[in-house]
């Protein structure tokens, strides 16, 4: 029973992989060719390497900075009391309510006036803004779960607050850090709208935009498109299979009590 459900579910994905190795004659064949008799790697020849690199750089950089700022902020919210704490936290949570479309135009105009259109820096900055609220929220949840005894013990031994954070709390929190980092990385890796609007040449374009460009006004290049999609997806997929425990933990945080 479950096997049927899972197969149906994974069908689009499997079909994508199969399509990527079909030659054009088999690709458009009616009735459809299930397993290509003459598999070819032709479609992989025109991979947009530059865009792939762009996506990687953007995702890694923005994730790195987001984890830095977000963990610090999350720790501040978790361990320190200050006026307006809940209010500010609520505001950060409410950011998720804002549709990207709403801030798209002002940000586009902002980047235009800063002469940052079509640069990797602009995309990094925007992705960082998209990642931060989630990062702060998740890291705060992880820190709140941690018993204070660890940090108190560290302080008794002479650590400063920041020292306690770095030396004691973070090492214990690695699974939380991993979960947050993965989800944030995917947020940037999969982002489309801002990348679409802010870039127009391969200097700064990201893979999702490049993949979508296989759809021209006349014809859709399914072969190269599925090949690019496979390359973009498989590494992430393999990686996440290994860390899926962390992902599940990150996703379900706050959804259940205890």
């Amino acid at each position: 029973m479950l096997i049927i459900i899972v197969s149906v579910y994974l069908f689009p994905f499997i079909w994508m992989i199969l399509s990527s190795i079909k030659s054009d004659t088999e690709q458009y064949a009616i009735p459809p060719v299930w397993l290509p008799l003459h598999p070819t790697l032709n479609n992989y020849r025109s991979l947009p390497f530059r865009e792939l690199l762009n996506s990687l750089i953007i995702a890694l950089t923005s994730t790195g900075i987001a984890m830095l700022l977000g963990s610090m902020a999350g720790y501040g919210f978790a361990r320190y009391r200050f006026p307006l704490r809940s209010f500010i936290l609520f505001l950060i949570l409410m950011i998720r309510v804002i549709p990207h479309i709403s801030i798209l135009i002002p940000i586009f105009l902002l980047m235009k006036s800063l002469n940052l259109l079509n640069t990797i820096l602009a995309v990094i900055m925007v992705h960082l803004a998209l990642q931060l609220p989630l990062c702060v929220w998740m890291m705060r949840s992880f820190f709140v779960e941690l018993p204070r005894d660890l940090e108190d013990a560290a302080k008794v031994d002479g650590c400063s607050s920041l020292g306690a954070l770095i030396r004691v709390v973070l090492p214990v929190c690695t699974s939380g850090l991993a979960a947050t980092a993965i989800i944030i990385f995917l947020t940037s890796w999969n982002e489309f709208l801002f990348a679409l609007v802010l870039t127009y040449t391969e200097v700064a374009k990201t893979m999702p935009v490049a993949i979508a460009e296989n759809v021209t006004a006349f014809v859709i290049h399914w072969g190269p498109m599925t090949a690019a999609s496979v390359i973009y997806t498989i590494p992430v997929m393999i990686f996440t299979i290994f860390v899926q425990k962390h992902i599940v933990r990150g996703l379900t945080l706050g959804a259940i009590k205890g």
Partner: protein, 294 residues
């Protein structure tokens, strides 16, 4: 003047960088968007002219706007309910002690990893009417496959199928985690008392799952309401305006018609609507939490 404690200083210090960055990228654009919504902005000359509420009046009088609203609401609430139902079933299925539960769960997580652009394109490929795989399978069964994307009556449902396919794993994961936190003793007690399956589900499982369900509802509703990528890739809002949702309409107004003032007004309206929906859900959450008796 109130003295700020040492602890508060450190607290503020830690949140400050993130806070400043977020203010720059959310606070400023929102103000700017509201400001723009009251203007007529000519992008070629960079000049803007203050026109007050004219943008809003023009929006309120167009059919196209209300069509977009209708499409968005229909899509959002239909998808979310179906995702909830299917996700619940899947979670219940996976909750039993199965041998390969981890494997199934991993496999079902796949759509979560995919880029929306990627799976939308993939579905578009499958939905193609002549050489698309779905219609070819149907043809093999003797059924004439419909024009999934080109038929104005069906296009929205095709998009919904894609969304549901992509989002149900998330619902399933959260609900599964919730299910697993229910102590088995409750089920045993119910069994001893002779409760039927439906009764057990209604009186034990559902109430205890309420927080998880509400969180899932909130997140899915908001995400579906804002969805852009799937629509852009699958139909671009067409055929005609059959699948034009708010996000697509705003995008077109801004980047095809270059009417930035009106687009800003539209996005302000959209933000308002989502905020109200979110607040309603949060209120429901608060009410249900306070009603719980342990």
């Amino acid at each position: 003047m109130r003295k700020i404690s040492h602890e508060a200083m450190i607290g503020y210090g830690m949140i400050l960088p993130a806070l400043i960055y977020l203010s720059l990228f959310y606070f400023y654009p929102i103000i700017s968007a509201v400001n723009l919504s009251f203007q007529e902005y000519d992008i070629s000359s960079g000049k803007n002219r203050f026109i007050g509420l004219a943008n809003y009046f023009s929006i309120m009088s167009e059919d196209r706007f209300f069509n977009a609203i209708k499409n968005t609401f229909f899509f959002t609430f239909s998808c979310t309910s179906i995702e909830l139902a299917i996700g619940m079933c899947l979670a219940l299925l996976l909750n039993r002690d199965l041998r390969d539960k981890g494997l199934f769960r991993t496999l079902l997580l796949t759509p979560l990893m995919l880029t929306p652009v990627v799976y939308s394109l993939q579905f578009r490929w499958m939905y193609a009417d002549q050489y698309g795989v779905i219609n070819n399978i149907l043809k093999g069964l003797g059924i004439a496959g419909p024009l999934w994307i080109a038929d104005a009556n069906i296009a929205m449902y095709s998009i919904m199928i894609t969304m549901i396919w992509a989002a149900t794993p998330f619902v399933m994961i959260v609900l599964l985690a919730g299910l697993q936190s229910i102590p088995p003793e409750l089920y045993e007690a119910a069994q001893i008392d002779g409760a039927s399956i439906w009764n057990t589900f209604k009186n034990i499982t559902l109430p205890l799952l309420k927080p998880a369900i509400l969180v899932v509802l909130l997140i899915r509703t908001m995400d579906a309401f804002k969805m852009f990528d799937i629509f852009y890739i699958l139909t671009g809002g067409g055929p005609g305006f059959a699948t034009e949702v708010l996000s697509i309409y705003i995008y077109k107004t801004a980047f095809s018609y270059l009417n930035l003032g009106k687009a800003s007004a539209l996005s302000c309206i959209m933000t308002l609507i989502i905020s109200m929906i979110a607040l309603v859900y949060i209120q429901l959450f608060r009410i249900s939490s306070s009603q719980e008796y342990r």
